[in-house]
């Protein structure tokens, strides 16, 4: 049986649901406030407002890895950073089942609630490890940081958990006290993954985790992500401009172009039979 049929999506509610997410840089104008306004890529020709995200709707179901693919500048990182509260969306809503049964738009809760969501419900692995790690602190402390934020005050418990996670991501115990600034790019990404996992979040956000890594290192990080998904049953949203990465990881995929979702569906189907001209281009360039 093909892997994509293992889940019965109809019966479950999505664990993460984005509704009509918009993010623009600039005030907008009468022209570009119309829904079907034609822009130059994502920029308004009249007022030069950048529309980084335009009416994005997206769902992640429990236990699923969902991919987001698109060219540079299509809004992938902006999407992730809005969900993780690093950027304020211009409008739109996001609901997470583990937070108040998904009844509240997380963009509208207090800063303290957002912190809780960030520390307990979401884990983030940034494209740039300098955004996700404290390069001068030991790897142990980096991983403990999220546990401290989640309320742990027991050093031994946190160290044990950090050791466990470091071994999970194949980093030798002997290097646990070292600062990530001494590590290679692949190791830094693995420390980021361990850190993101440390408070057992049900949802993991991965932004271009393998970009800039050697192919062999890439493969190992991707394997690790798949193992983690199976072992911890975490739902993941995985962003990449590389359709190859998405093909390896994601069961369902959203294709983004100029801030909009232009196509979505089962990854296999999108690869077999791309509908949107842009997706067709992407797929053919992969072959």
């Amino acid at each position: 049986m093909p892997k994509t049929l293992e889940h019965n999506f109809v019966e479950q509610a999505p664990i993460l649901r984005l509704e009509d997410l918009n993010k623009s840089y600039g005030d907008g104008c009468e022209y570009c406030s119309k829904e079907d306004a034609v822009l130059e890529k994502n920029i308004c020709p009249k007022c030069h407002t950048v529309h980084a995200l335009r009416g994005v709707n997206l769902e992640v179901y429990p236990g699923e890895i969902v991919g987001v693919v698109g060219e540079s500048g299509s809004g992938k990182s902006t999407l992730m950073q809005c969900i993780y509260f690093d950027k304020n969306p211009s409008s739109g809503a996001c609901y997470l089942t583990p937070y108040k049964e998904g009844t509240e738009n997380i963009f509208e809760v207090s800063e303290q609630e957002k912190l809780k969501i960030k520390n307990l419900i979401l884990g983030m692995v940034y494209q740039n490890p300098y955004l996700g790690l404290r390069m001068d602190f030991s790897s142990l402390s980096n991983i403990a940081e999220r546990q401290i934020a989640a309320g742990s005050r027991n050093v031994h418990e946190m160290m044990d958990r950090s050791d466990e996670l470091l071994s999970e991501v194949n980093i030798s115990k002997w290097r646990a006290k070292e600062a990530p600034k001494n590590f290679s790019g692949g190791m830094q990404q693995r420390v980021q993954i361990a850190k993101a996992l440390s408070s057992n979040p049900p949802i993991l956000l991965l932004d271009e985790v393998t970009t800039g890594l050697d192919l062999s290192v890439q493969a190992r990080v991707l394997d690790l992500i798949k193992d983690i998904m199976h072992e911890f049953n975490i739902s993941m949203l995985v962003v990449s401009h590389d359709l190859g990465v998405i093909r390896m990881l994601a069961e369902r995929t959203y294709v983004m172009l100029d801030g909009k979702v232009v196509e979505s569906g089962l990854t296999d189907q999108i690869l077999e039979d791309p509908q949107h001209p842009y997706t067709q281009q992407l797929v053919y360039s992969l072959l």
């Binding site: 912190l115 602190f137 934020a149 027991n154 050093v155």
Partner: protein
């Protein structure tokens, strides 16, 4: 030439502004209130924050004590005391019991303070999260959101590296279960004295332009972990070579010729009182 100064050097407008900041500080225990730090006839970083607090509070009937690292006779303490005495004519003492207003650098006196006393502490670095986050705009937010992961993380990192908290002085405290505060560079030995102290404790940072406060009977807890509880310096089995006191903060004295170690009260007026040495009292309204 005889130059006339306003009572307590500062003009009344300045005093009022500093008192207003002090009142706000008392209302929000542990919160750093910005104030317009004045130019003082001593250099910034030499106790100008404490000095401005003292000058704004002092009245003709106050009895003043000034100490620097436990000593009434250090040059720094003497100069500050002289400046205040010359511009107020108040009585100055060494005996802690007799003082109504005590300005101190890096120590809380051994004699328990009472509700009729105010302790003013000089502060070099008021921001307890500074080593964790260099940007003031961010640390302000962290305080506002009660996001104190950094305070615990810094101590966690010390434990990772040295298996113990290595804060010699200025070990951060949580005030009234709300604000994390730098207690000024007092030894850890003095931290517990802050908890539910009967006296009002005011802290002033002249260079950094901040005032903060512990009103009487405020709950003050040193930051620690369940399995690495906060501990004061180990002074057990040691006593003062001059007065025999134990259970007080002791300085280590090393004999240059013999290399022999001995210990001596850091709080000189406490030690002298125990030995029946007459303590200096100067000035006052009638003098």
């Amino acid at each position: 030439m005889h130059k006339r100064y306003n009572f307590a050097f500062l003009d009344e407008g300045s005093k009022r502004e500093i008192r207003r900041a002090s009142l706000k500080a008392v209302c929000i225990p542990g919160y750093q209130v910005p104030f317009a730090s004045r130019e003082m006839p001593i250099g910034r970083g030499w106790g100008t924050g404490g000095l401005q607090l003292t000058l704004s509070l002092i009245g003709p009937n106050d009895v003043l004590k000034v100490i620097d690292q436990g000593s009434d006779a250090s040059v720094n303490a003497l100069n500050i005391k002289k400046l205040i005495a010359l511009t107020t004519n108040v009585e100055t003492v060494e005996d802690t019991h007799q003082a109504t207003l005590i300005q101190s650098r890096h120590r809380i006196p051994e004699v328990p303070l009472t509700k009729d006393q105010i302790l003013v502490l000089q502060v070099p670095t008021p921001e307890p999260l500074r080593a964790f986050e260099p940007r003031e705009a961010i640390t302000k937010k962290l305080h506002a959101h009660k996001d104190y992961t950094g305070a615990w993380l810094m101590i966690f990192e010390q434990i990772v590296k040295y298996n113990t908290a290595t804060t010699g002085a200025d070990h951060p405290v949580l005030v009234h279960d709300r604000y994390v505060m730098a207690p000024s560079p007092i030894p850890r030995f003095d931290n517990p004295k802050m908890d539910h102290n009967e006296a009002l404790i005011l802290l002033g940072a002249g260079r950094e332009k901040k005032i903060y406060a512990l009103p009487p009977y405020t709950k003050v807890k040193s930051i620690d972990f369940e399995d690495y509880p906060f501990a004061i310096e180990d002074l057990s089995n040691k006593s003062c070579r001059l007065c025999g006191a134990s259970g007080v903060y002791l300085d280590e004295i090393i004999d240059e010729n013999t290399g022999e170690r001995s210990y001596q009260c850091n709080d000189t007026s406490y030690c002298e009182a125990r030995r029946g040495v007459a303590q200096v009292v100067e000035g006052g309204q009638d003098a």
